[in-house]
C-alpha cells in the first residue's frame, strides 16, 4: 500500500487542546510540513504567543520560546540576532499581533528582521472568550461588542497584510485562508515561501492566515468555514501583497 499522507516529522504525536473544528491545527500542520520539506527542523526555533496557541510548543518537535503577549517579534529578534544561522518563526493571533503587539510587529518588519511570522486572524480574542479584537468585522457580535462592532466607537478592522506591505524592508507578505482544500494548498505554498525567504534571502516574511473560531463565533465547524468565506474574505482579500523583487 502506498502511503499518501502522514504526520509531518516536526509535528509532535500528541492530542491538541484546540476546540473541535478550530483551524489552528491545520495551520500547525502546514508549518510543520514546510519545515520538514526545507529540512531545517534541527535549526528552527519557534516563538509562541499568548493566545489559544500559547501551548504551540507542545505540538512541534522544535525548540521553542514562549513570549509575553504581543512581544513575539521582539523575542524572535533577540533569538535571530543571537543565532543568525538559525530559522526563527513566530506564531501569533490577531489580538497578540494586531492589538497589544502592533509596535513590535511593525518594527520587526521595518527592520527587515530575517524571521517568518505566521499571523492567525480569527477576528476575536479566542483564548479569553471571544472578545472584540481590532480585526473584528463591522457589525460582528462578540462578548464585548454585544450589539455588533460599532465602527463609530471602535473604528474599522485593521488589515495587517496591507498595512505592513507599505514598508520597504519586508520581502514577502501574503494573506491566505484555511477554509477549503484549495485554499489550504495555497496557504501551504505561502507558508513555505515565507520560510524560504528567511532561509535563502535572509528577509522578513509574514503570512496572514484567516482562521476560524467556532467556539466563540457560536457556529458549527462547518458553518464557521462558510462564515469565514462569506464575511472575512470580502473584507480581507486573499493574495500576495509584497513579493521579492525577482518574482515580481
Amino acid at each position: 500500500m502506498r502511503l499518501v499522507f502522514d504526520r509531518p516529522q516536526s509535528l509532535a504525536d500528541v492530542q491538541t487542546h484546540y476546540c473541535p473544528g478550530c483551524t489552528h491545527g491545520i495551520i500547525h500542520r502546514l508549518i510543520a510540513e514546510a519545515i520538514d520539506e526545507l529540512d531545517v527542523a534541527d535549526r528552527t526555533i519557534g516563538v509562541a504567543p499568548v493566545g489559544c496557541a500559547v501551548l504551540a510548543y507542545n505540538y512541534f518537535n522544535l525548540d521553542f520560546q514562549e513570549a509575553a503577549h504581543g512581544r513575539a517579534p521582539a523575542v524572535a529578534t533577540g533569538i535571530k540576532r543571537a543565532l543568525p544561522d538559525r530559522v526563527v518563526f513566530t506564531y501569533q493571533g490577531d489580538g497578540d499581533l494586531a492589538s497589544i503587539g502592533t509596535a513590535e510587529i511593525i518594527h520587526a518588519a521595518n527592520r527587515g528582521e530575517a524571521i517568518t511570522v505566521v499571523y492567525v486572524n480569527n477576528t476575536v480574542y479566542g483564548m479569553t472568550g471571544g472578545q472584540m479584537a481590532p480585526t473584528t468585522l463591522p457589525g460582528q457580535k462578540t462578548t464585548t461588542s454585544p450589539y455588533g462592532r460599532d465602527t463609530d466607537l471602535a473604528g474599522y478592522p485593521i488589515r495587517v497584510a496591507e498595512m505592513l506591505s507599505t514598508l520597504v524592508a519586508p520581502q514577502y507578505i501574503a494573506r491566505v485562508a484555511v477554509n477549503s482544500a484549495p485554499n489550504i494548498q495555497k496557504a501551504k505554498r505561502a507558508i513555505k515561501k515565507a520560510f524560504e525567504i528567511q532561509v535563502n534571502d535572509n528577509g522578513f516574511a509574514l503570512v496572514e492566515v484567516l482562521s476560524t473560531c467556532p467556539t466563540n463565533w457560536g457556529l458549527t465547524p462547518e458553518k464557521s468555514l462558510r462564515w469565514l468565506e462569506e464575511n472575512m474574505i470580502p473584507y480581507y482579500p486573499l493574495g500576495d501583497f509584497k513579493v521579492p523583487k525577482e518574482v515580481e
Binding site: T44, A48, F64, R71, A74, I79, A82, E104
Partner: protein, 356 residues
C-alpha cells in the same frame, strides 16, 4: 588588570560588559544613560557584537529575553521611566529563569519626573516591580571602578543563577569620570547553557523557554524552586562596605552616589569630634542585613540617607529590628544632598534635637 584609563561611568559600564562577554545589547534612548548606548553602538560593531536600538524599552527587554533564551550574554539599559516599561519583561525573564543584565541609571520620579539623579526606584528594584514572586539581584556601585567590577560580577551571577541582575546607578555615577582598570578575562570560560533554544537536533530533549504552568501544583513547585535559588542568593550574595564604623556612635547608611557624599560628611564630623561611620550596601537585594545587624549590637544611632522619600530605610529598620533609633535624611526631585546638609543632620541628631 589593565593600565588605568580615565573613563565616564556609563562608558566604563559598556566596556566592562564587553569584557564580561556581552554579545548583544538592546536599548532605547533615555537621559541620563544615553552615553552607554552611544558608546556601545560605536564599540560593538568593531568587535563583531550586536548593538540594536529597539523601538521601545518593552521591545528591548523582550529582545533580551529571546537572546538570553538562545544562550548568549545580553544586556539592556535605561533610566526610571524606561525601567518601568521593562517590568513585564523582567517578570517573564525571572519566571523563565533567563540570565541577563539590566542597568538602571535612575532619575527623579514619579512619572516623567526629571533627568537628575535619584534613588527612588529602590522599592521597584528590590521588592518586585513586575508581577509574581521573584527577585532580581541588585548591585549598587559607588565609583566608576566599582561600576566595572560589579558589571562583570553581574554577568557571572546572572549565569550562575539563571536570573536577571540589575545594576542600580544614577545620573551622577553615569556621568562621573574616574580612573579605572579592567581585569584580564581572556582565559575565563563561560558556563555551558544546555537549556538554551539552539535548535532541536535530537541529542537532548527539546528545550522550551517559558513561564506558563497551568497546573497549580506544578506552578507551586516551580515557585519553590525559584525560592530555593533566592535563599541561596540570600545566604551567599550579600555585599556591603564599611567606613570608620568600629568606634562610631552614629552610623550612616547610604548606597551609590549618596554613600560618597556621606563619606565626606563623616570626615567633616570626625574633624568636629563626632564619631561617625558609614555602612554602604553594595547589594541592595539581597540586602546585607546581617552585617548591619551586627553594628546594631552596640549602643549607637543610625541615619539613613537617600535620594528618595525613604525607601531603603524600611530594610534598615528590618535589619536592626527596632533595637536602635533610625533617623532619615532624604532629598528628592533630582536634588543631590550636600555633605554640609548631611553634616548638619548628624549634628542635630547628636545634639538630641531629632526624633527617630
Amino acid at each position: 588588570m589593565s593600565e588605568k584609563l580615565l573613563m565616564r561611568g556609563n562608558e566604563a559600564l559598556g566596556e566592562a560588559a564587553l569584557k564580561a562577554g556581552c554579545q548583544l545589547y538592546f536599548a532605547y534612548p533615555i537621559t541620563p544613560q544615553s552615553e552607554l548606548p552611544e558608546y556601545l553602538s560605536r564599540r560593538m560593531p568593531e568587535i563583531d557584537r550586536v548593538f540594536l536600538q529597539a523601538e521601545s524599552e518593552i521591545a528591548a527587554i523582550n529582545m533580551v529575553y529571546g537572546a538570553a533564551g538562545a544562550g548568549v550574554r545580553v544586556m539592556t539599559s535605561s533610566s526610571s521611566p524606561g525601567i518601568s516599561l521593562k517590568q513585564e519583561g523582567l517578570s517573564y525573564i525571572a519566571g523563565a529563569q533567563l540570565p541577563c543584565v539590566i542597568v538602571n541609571m535612575s532619575r527623579g520620579g514619579p512619572g516623567l519626573g526629571s533627568i537628575q539623579p535619584a534613588q527612588s526606584d529602590y522599592f521597584q528594584a528590590t521588592k518586585g516591580g513586575g508581577h509574581g514572586d521573584y527577585h532580581l539581584i541588585v548591585l549598587a556601585p559607588a565609583s566608576v571602578q566599582e561600576i566595572v567590577d560589579l558589571t562583570i560580577l553581574a554577568f557571572d551571577l546572572a549565569d550562575k543563577y539563571r536570573n536577571p541582575v540589575m545594576i542600580m546607578g544614577d545620573g551622577l555615577l553615569g556621568q562621573m569620570m574616574e580612573p579605572v582598570s579592567f581585569p584580564d578575562r581572556s582565559d575565563v570560560v563561560l558556563p555551558e547553557k544546555p537549556w538554551a533554544t539552539t535548535g532541536y537536533t535530537g541529542e537532548r530533549p527539546k528545550n522550551i523557554i517559558r513561564s506558563l504552568e497551568l497546573q497549580p501544583e506544578r506552578l507551586e513547585a516551580h515557585n519553590q524552586k525559584l525560592q530555593e535559588k533566592y535563599a541561596d542568593m540570600i545566604a551567599t550574595q550579600k555585599r556591603s562596605d564599611e567606613y570608620l564604623t568600629d568606634d562610631a556612635d552614629i552610623v550612616l547608611i547610604a548606597f551609590g552616589t549618596v554613600a560618597r557624599i556621606c563619606r565626606s560628611a563623616i570626615d567633616m564630623a570626625r574633624e568636629k569630634g563626632i564619631k561617625a561611620g558609614l555602612f554602604r550596601p553594595i547589594s541592595l537585594w539581597p540586602f546585607p542585613d546581617e552585617s548591619l545587624a551586627k553594628l546594631g549590637d552596640k549602643e549607637r544611632t543610625f541615619l539613613t540617607v537617600e535620594m528618595s522619600c525613604g525607601q531603603m530605610i524600611e530594610d534598615v529598620k528590618l535589619a536592626l529590628e527596632c533595637r536602635r533609633p533610625v533617623h532619615f535624611y532624604g532629598r528628592v526631585g533630582g536634588i543631590v544632598p550636600s555633605p554640609e546638609e548631611v553634616l548638619d543632620k548628624i549634628e542635630q541628631i547628636v545634639a538630641g534635637r531629632c526624633e527617630a
